[in-house]
């Protein structure tokens, strides 16, 4: 890392560990400071975003035209697996953990996280977990090629040997997430400034608190699922093999018991970011704070009883299909409350449209759109036609890219001036926004049509009637991918320098983080702030 880049971060009194490269490496390796660790998480996420995005573009290049073009089917399957795993575990989760590390102590008036050493460990497990995961691409038989969902028996009896590395890598990511979550729970519950009651907590902290509990509940389930895979592969068990009395559907039940709450792990912190950004730029308090909190908790609870909606075509009995259909439909009620509240916050506000607000508004529109297709997918008979087609790909990419990733952009542009003390380039921020918003729709909208017209997902080659839309999608994909370079450039430039900002940064912003200078001192609040 360039010393100039870090200069702005440790200019206060960062713990010097000696001079030169060794000193720098030790300083970042040994740091227990919530801001340093937050920065590390965010940089890892940024790196992985381009890595996994590049994998996505490789797939889009192959799918530009029918026929075998650039990559062979086995490599294509490896790319689907790694793109999914890295985007979830290597981009969205670390990025939000990084934001939580930076923001939670600032927002609740604490000097640091509750468990700083644990914090260091939970970050430093991750780079090694990803090195392990990426090393599979160089191994005999190639990387795991069964999709991020790892369905047995394709991932057990029929999988390449590198699958064991994936299993261990998932274990490491899981341990990292659990430790990070414990830290966030401990910080929010114990280190709030006097007078900052739970119902005064900023929404970002609330959503992260709920997310952290979700993670603590589900990560051991995923660990269990992959360990059973390992046992089936090497220790002669038959959890997922009918020949030995097991059942392949058992894997799907366990996986989605993790997998569905995981979806909300990804999206709840995004709700938190949006609930911070929209009131600031509407110059109006968040509408229905209490209901927002209840809705968040409600979504989290419901997320545990909807998992089988990923498995409607597996032959689960009628009663189960009905139950999971109703439960899934029910989730749209609290999610709707959130959308209505954001709309009401904007309604009769006095809005300004800086880059964070632009991304937040786009989030509300496109996330809601992804929610609509989610509601359609919950209807079992219709789902029989959608399941495992590009319609599903379109649905979850709408929720995750113009949804969650846009929330990450909004949060980054929103808090970056606070973190660095420099203003980002607004003009390039807006260019980034418009390019991303237009291309993301060119990229994902036609996927709905392809799915409805019968194109299955996860195929490296397709029938000729799907060519037109696939070409459009690939073009959109490349524009979207390349526009993210603007984002990276803008962020790095802002870290290195730029116009100085004062403590308030945004006129309409409220909250404890805006009472500290930009950038905030190394030990954020050394004395607890006074809450009105």
């Amino acid at each position: 890392m360039n010393p100039d880049m870090t200069a702005s971060l440790d200019h206060d009194h960062g713990p010097e560990q000696g001079k030169g490269f060794i000193g720098l490496a030790k300083r970042w390796l040994f740091t227990t400071n919530h801001k340093d660790i937050g920065t590390l998480y965010l940089l890892l996420a940024l790196f992985n975003f381009f890595l996994a995005g590049g994998m996505g573009l490789l797939m889009r290049a192959e799918l530009f035209q029918p026929g075998h073009r650039f990559i062979d089917p086995n490599f294509y399957n490896q790319m689907t697996t790694l793109h999914g795993l890295i985007m979830l575990f290597g981009v969205i989760m670390p990025a939000f953990t990084g934001m939580a590390n930076w923001q939670v102590p600032l927002m609740i008036g604490a000097p640091d996280m509750a468990l700083p050493r644990l914090n260091n460990w939970s970050f430093w497990l991750l780079p090694f977990a990803f090195i392990l995961l990426l090393s599979t691409t160089l191994q005999a038989g190639g990387a795991p090629n069964f999709g991020w969902t790892m369905y047995a028996p394709l991932s057990t009896k029929y999988a390449p040997p590198s699958t064991d590395f994936l299993i261990f890598s998932v274990h490491m990511m899981g341990i990292s997430s659990i430790m990070g979550s414990i830290n966030i729970v401990a910080t929010i519950l114990n280190m709030r400034a006097p007078g900052l009651t739970m119902m005064k907590l900023p929404m970002f902290c609330w959503t992260w608190l709920v997310t952290a509990f979700l993670l603590i509940a589900i990560m051991p389930v995923l660990a269990g699922a992959v360990t059973m895979m390992l046992a089936d592969r090497h220790f002669g068990t038959s959890f997922f093999d009918a020949a030995g009395g097991g059942d392949p559907v058992l894997f799907q039940h366990i996986f989605w018991f993790f997998g569905h709450p995981e979806v909300y792990v990804l999206v709840l912190p995004a709700f938190g970011v949006i609930s911070e950004v929209i009131p600031t730029f509407s110059h109006k308090r968040l509408f229905g704070y209490n209901f927002m909190v209840y809705a968040t908790c409600c979504i989290a609870l419901l997320s545990f009883i909807v998992w089988a909606h990923h498995m409607f075509t597996t032959g689960i009995p009628l009663g189960a299909e009905l139950f999971f259909m109703y439960a899934t439909m029910l989730i749209s009620v609290p999610t709707g409350i959130k959308v209505f509240n954001w709309a009401s916050t904007m309604f009769r506000g006095s809005m300004t449209f800086e880059t964070p607000m632009l991304f937040a508004v786009a989030f509300v529109f496109m996330f809601t759109f992804g929610g609509f297709t989610g509601l359609m997918l919950s209807l079992v008979p219709a789902d029989y036609q959608y399941q495992d087609t590009y319609f599903v790909v379109a649905h979850f990419h709408y929720v995750l890219v113009p949804g969650v990733v846009f929330a990450l952009f909004a949060g980054t542009y929103y808090w970056l001036p606070k973190w660095t003390g420099h203003m980002y380039n607004e003009r390039w921020g807006k260019i980034h926004f418009w390019l991303s918003t237009i291309s993301v729709n060119v990229l994902f909208m036609p996927m709905h049509f392809l799915g409805l017209a019968g194109m299955p997902r996860r195929i490296p080659d397709y029938a000729v009637q799907f060519t037109n839309f696939n070409m459009i999608i690939s073009i959109g994909g490349f524009i979207f991918g390349l526009s993210q370079l603007i984002f990276a450039w803008n962020v790095i430039r802002t870290i290195r320098g730029g116009p100085k900002v004062d403590a308030q940064v945004w006129e309409g912003a409220h909250g404890l983080e805006w009472t500290l200078p930009s950038p905030p001192p190394y030990h954020s609040f050394t004395t607890p702030p006074h809450i009105h």
Partner: protein, 401 residues
């Protein structure tokens, strides 16, 4: 406000979207909407899809309409002063209840359709569908008919050496034929990994679970050819296992069945007959061998024979492919290697095809063994295999090494 939105242009445009599918029905290169299909179930699915889309469109127009209205009017740059309200419990309860009621309205037709499509009673014909890497296999349980259905798209089209035909990746060597207006029950299962049997126009998508069997049914109302694909990632060849269903009248169906039974019988006899096997030249064998190898073997063993070790061994220089006795090589195709992805091809390929593949493998990619294997060699081993029970290597089946 609401009335204003409903009468707006946006409303008209979104409504046009629902009629778009009729306009585009001919030009399926731009198909944007779900298939209506040819069964009552698929039509129910389509209607449910359209109702759900309509409900979403209306909610979307209201919510987005309000948002767009305030995005346009409530801006600081227009000097708009922010209001002070930030809470309204009554409003919150209203927009909790209204979506709930809308959901109830959607749940009724969904439940009704679901109960209907779960009912496989009184089916008149039963077809067992078995997926394996990467083809479908059909058993007509009432008629005792059995055959495989492989991708028919030539390898050269996939490799862009030939122009792609209109049914690229959607045509098979042997389609399944079913009668119209009969309730057909499909029993879906798999031999290896999970596959999924999907024919959009029949409204059937059923995951094929190894070791389990699940049902689906269809009563096709219109004769025609309906195409589908595997929809569960099942490995390297996932894109290459299409489904083609031909629906015909009952008479035609019965004719087809008796013809198939006769063909199957004569095929079996021919394969096991030691006196009537043809002798082929090396060139004939190599040509047919290359073609069949690319279609059947190359997904795993790769077109250049290097395989994807360690899952799929290389054939180039492999002890089985260049070593002796050649019987070992032939048995690998006739019996397979139980417990691995290498399955038995005895019922799928004729003696001639197996002989051609083996001759090709033994002479391609610097495997220059100069061996020529004739259909008779295969027939001899085939007859022998039929006599003895299939050998199952227990150690491989159990997964213990």
């Amino acid at each position: 406000m609401l009335r204003k939105i409903l009468s707006s242009k946006a409303f008209v445009i979104v409504f046009c979207f629902f009629w778009v599918d009729a306009v585009f029905a001919e030009a399926d290169h731009w198909q944007m909407n779900m298939f209506k299909g040819v069964t009552s179930v698929s039509r129910d699915m389509y209607n449910l899809h359209m109702i759900a889309m309509l409900v979403c469109a209306i909610i979307g127009m209201v919510v987005f309409g309000i948002m767009i209205y305030s995005l346009i009017h409530h801006r600081k740059s227009k000097g708009y002063q922010a209001a002070k309200f930030h809470d309204n419990t009554r409003l919150e309860i209203v927009w909790t209840l209204i979506p709930f009621l809308i959901l109830l309205g959607l749940a009724f037709p969904a439940t009704r359709t679901l109960i209907k499509l779960d009912n496989v009673d009184q089916s008149q014909i039963t077809i067992k569908v078995v997926g394996s890497q990467w083809k479908w296999e059909y058993f007509y349980l009432d008629e005792g008919l059995h055959f495989y259905s492989n991708l028919a798209t030539p390898f050269d089209q996939i490799q862009n050496k030939q122009p792609k035909d209109s049914n690229y990746l959607l045509s098979v060597d042997k389609e399944i034929v079913v009668p119209v207006d009969k309730k057909i029950r499909f029993l879906v299962t798999s031999r290896d990994v999970i596959h999924s049997w999907w024919v959009p126009e029949l409204g059937i998508k059923r995951d094929a679970m190894p070791g389990f069997m699940y049902e689906a049914w269809a009563r096709i109302e219109k004769p025609g050819i309906y195409r589908g694909q595997c929809t569960e990632l099942c490995g390297v060849g996932h894109a290459y296992m299409p489904i083609v269903v031909r629906a015909v009248s009952m008479e035609e169906y019965q004719q087809w069945v008796s013809q198939q039974l006769a063909e199957e019988k004569s095929w079996k006899e021919q394969q096991n007959n030691l006196t009537s096997q043809k002798t082929k030249t090396r060139d004939e064998l190599m040509k047919l061998g290359q073609e069949k190898y690319n279609m059947v073997c190359s997904a795993c063993h790769q077109p250049n024979g290097t395989g994807i070790p360690p899952m799929y061994p290389a054939l180039k220089g492999s002890s089985i492919a260049v070593g002796h006795p050649i019987d070992r090589h032939i048995n690998m195709l006739l019996i397979g290697s139980p417990g691995s992805a290498m399955q038995s091809y005895a019922d799928m390929l004729s003696n001639e095809e197996i002989a051609a593949i083996i001759t090709y493998v033994r002479n391609a990619w610097e495997n220059n063994t100069n061996d020529i294997v004739q259909p008779l060699d295969i027939a001899k081993l085939r007859v022998e295999t039929n006599k003895k029970p299939t050998v199952v290597e227990k150690i491989n089946v159990g997964g213990l090494k």
